[in-house]
């Protein structure tokens, strides 16, 4: 093949290679700018969970929903529709296997198990990346605050816009976790 054709094909491939991450950036930026912000309450995580690199692992209080429908299968992707509770934290309004005709915001999650009318699921935005020197302190702080008896002082701020979900920040006592760790 002539070199010029080869080069043109390469340019097309190169554009695709650039397009994928740019698309991710655009979707995320769009979610932050025009998406709805939700606060997800976190809950204590297993303290023996090994420290995994430069991010902290989050677990949410929102991890189950009671339903009569017993056809949910482990590993299935489901739609979780959201609403805000009286204190301004996100809670589940309904779940569904297929997208519903509604204006409400949703996130997708995977079913982890189903038992006696209770569907357990895992929200996808469970890793929060940090500067590597701060990540360990952040994990410690996150565990400490989550295990003390003061309720609702740790939450994740998540922007939702259609299919795009961006975990913007994690707050401890209304202070971003980066600043909290520096204190």
């Amino acid at each position: 093949m002539k070199i010029i054709y080869l080069f043109i094909l390469f340019v097309i491939v190169a554009l695709a290679q650039i397009f994928v991450p740019i698309q991710m950036v655009m979707d995320s930026e769009d979610a932050i700018i025009s998406g709805e912000a939700y606060k997800f309450r976190t809950r204590p995580i297993d303290p023996t969970d090994p420290f995994r690199g430069k991010y902290i692992t989050l677990q949410y209080e929102m991890n189950h929903f009671n339903t009569e429908n017993s056809t949910y299968v482990v590993g299935e992707e489901i739609y979780i529709y959201l609403k805000n509770d009286s204190e301004g934290f996100a809670e589940v309004s309904q779940i569904s296997k297929t997208p519903l005709q509604t204006e409400a915001d949703y996130v997708t999650a995977r079913v982890t198990y189903y038992y006696k009318g209770k569907v357990n699921f895992q929200l996808p935005f469970n890793t929060f990346y940090m500067e590597e020197t701060k990540a360990y302190d952040a994990e410690l702080a996150y565990n400490k605050v989550n295990r003390d008896s003061i309720p609702k002082n740790v939450y994740a701020l998540v922007y939702i816009n259609g299919d795009d979900v961006v975990l913007k920040d994690v707050f401890i006592n209304d202070i971003p976790i980066q600043e909290y760790v520096e204190k």
Binding site: V25, E76, L167
Partner: protein, 427 residues
């Protein structure tokens, strides 16, 4: 030229086996031949250099600098990608040497993965590993052909295998089948075929002759969902395909150790059949054959491929060239689908089949004076006999006697072959 070879030449000239002019000519011939070859070592170091620099840059960015704004971090995430693309584009446009193409391709491969994962890190996109590997592989696959890069081909095989196992095996939370893996393998095959056609005896071809069947063997496990019994049929057929590919005319000049298809096909067939020489797999197999399942259709598709290759060999080389390893997958299909209701009959037939395969290997080894294959055949027969000790009530005297006979058999066969080989050398 290596100093050892030069010393040998000097010695031959000194002892007047060859004249010193001829020794000089030989030395000159090899020196010129060497100079004409592209510097392979340089290519290898180029690839390693690209690997190290690429991963170094990624690690620095992964520090996730808090002092930078989101925009700065995002721009930084694209820098390795741009560098890689410029280098690769330059080596295509200027039609640079192999070293350039291999090194820039390797760097670009990692840069693509890095830019996606760095953006995920900046925006805390957790996304699952399977879809990340899929996107990565798709974006880098064309580079194999655009750069004619074997290093990228190798990396794509690795990432696609990782994708298949991640989606199909390790991710317990998902019950998907990685169908795209089939596409990845099909996309890699033309590159492998060109290698086999142009440089069959090179080390690169040997690496691919091993890594392609290994990847498919690992990847096939991701296609078994629920009907594990049919998984045996799938694997048996796959090993049949490998063995038949290994016996194709194009691979005839290859040494056995360089023929990964042949070895993996043969070993896989024997190991699987050895399991079925016991009674318990047949008993548990009873009426579990499900014809309307993904596994059955996969087996069927593999069967069509295997039979096509076998048919091609029969047409090209004649039915007499076919040995029992090449048809054992067909016999297994017969036993599995027609006789699985029973347990004793298929068990006995499998024992006979393994015994015949052992004898076939011994015969191939004896005919080609290959001690490796000869002893492989003897090993098959011995393991078969040892396995039968587990489920029969023989007295220790008989068992002991059988062991002695097998051991003596090893000695005699090897000794006779050695004698024959010596006789042949004398004549």
């Amino acid at each position: 030229m290596s100093s050892k070879f030069n010393k040998e030449l000097e010695e031959l000239a000194r002892d007047q086996v060859i004249s010193s002019e001829i020794a000089d000519k030989i030395s000159l011939y090899y020196d010129q031949k060497q100079a004409a070859k592209p510097n392979r070592l340089f290519t290898i170091f180029g690839v390693f250099g690209a690997l190290l620099v690429g991963s170094g840059i990624i690690l620095m960015l992964a520090h996730n600098w808090d002092d930078f704004s989101r925009i700065t971090k995002t721009i930084l995430a694209f820098i390795p990608l741009f560098i890689g693309q410029c280098a690769a584009g330059f080596s295509i446009l200027k039609n640079k040497a192999r070293t350039w193409k291999e090194a820039s391709g390797t760097f670009l491969f990692f840069a693509v993965g890095a830019s996606i994962s760095l953006v995920s890190q900046i925006y805390n996109i957790s996304g699952d590993l399977g879809s990340f590997l899929r996107t990565w592989t798709i974006l880098c696959l064309p580079l194999i052909y655009l750069l004619r890069s074997h290093a990228v081909a190798l990396l794509v095989i690795l990432s696609s295998t990782y994708y298949a196992t991640e989606v199909g095996l390790w991710n317990y939370k998902s019950n998907e089948t990685p169908w795209l893996y089939v596409g990845f393998v099909l996309a890699i095959i033309p590159n492998y075929w060109v290698l086999v056609k142009n440089s069959l005896l090179s080390n690169t071809t040997t690496i691919f002759s091993w890594i392609v069947p290994v990847s498919i063997t690992v990847g096939l496990a991701a296609f078994v969902k629920g009907n594990e019994e049919l998984g045996f049929v799938m694997y048996m057929t796959l090993f049949g395909i490998f063995y038949n590919i290994g016996r194709l005319l194009v691979f005839r000049e290859l040494r056995t150790l360089r023929n990964g298809h042949l070895i993996i096909g043969s070993l896989g067939t024997i190991i699987l059949l050895m399991i079925f020489t016991f009674r318990w797999p047949w008993e548990e197999m009873y009426d579990t054959t499900i014809y309307r399942s993904q596994e059955f259709y996969t087996s069927l598709a593999l069967g069509v491929v295997a039979i096509s290759i076998l048919g091609y060999t029969v047409i090209k080389k004649g039915i007499r060239s076919i040995n029992s390893f090449q048809v054992s997958f067909l016999i297994f299909w017969g036993l599995f689908f027609l006789l699985s209701g029973m347990s004793t009959v298929p068990m006995i037939l499998t024992n006979i089949l393994v015994f015949v395969l052992g004898i076939t290997a011994i015969k191939i080894g004896a005919d080609t004076f290959n001690f490796g294959i000869l002893n492989y055949g003897l090993l098959i027969v011995s393991i078969l006999i040892i396995c039968r000790f587990f489920d029969t009530d023989m007295s220790f005297v008989i068992r002991g006697l059988l062991f002695v006979i097998v051991g003596v058999g090893f000695f005699i066969t090897n000794y006779r072959m050695l004698k024959r080989q010596q006789k042949k050398l004398i004549h």
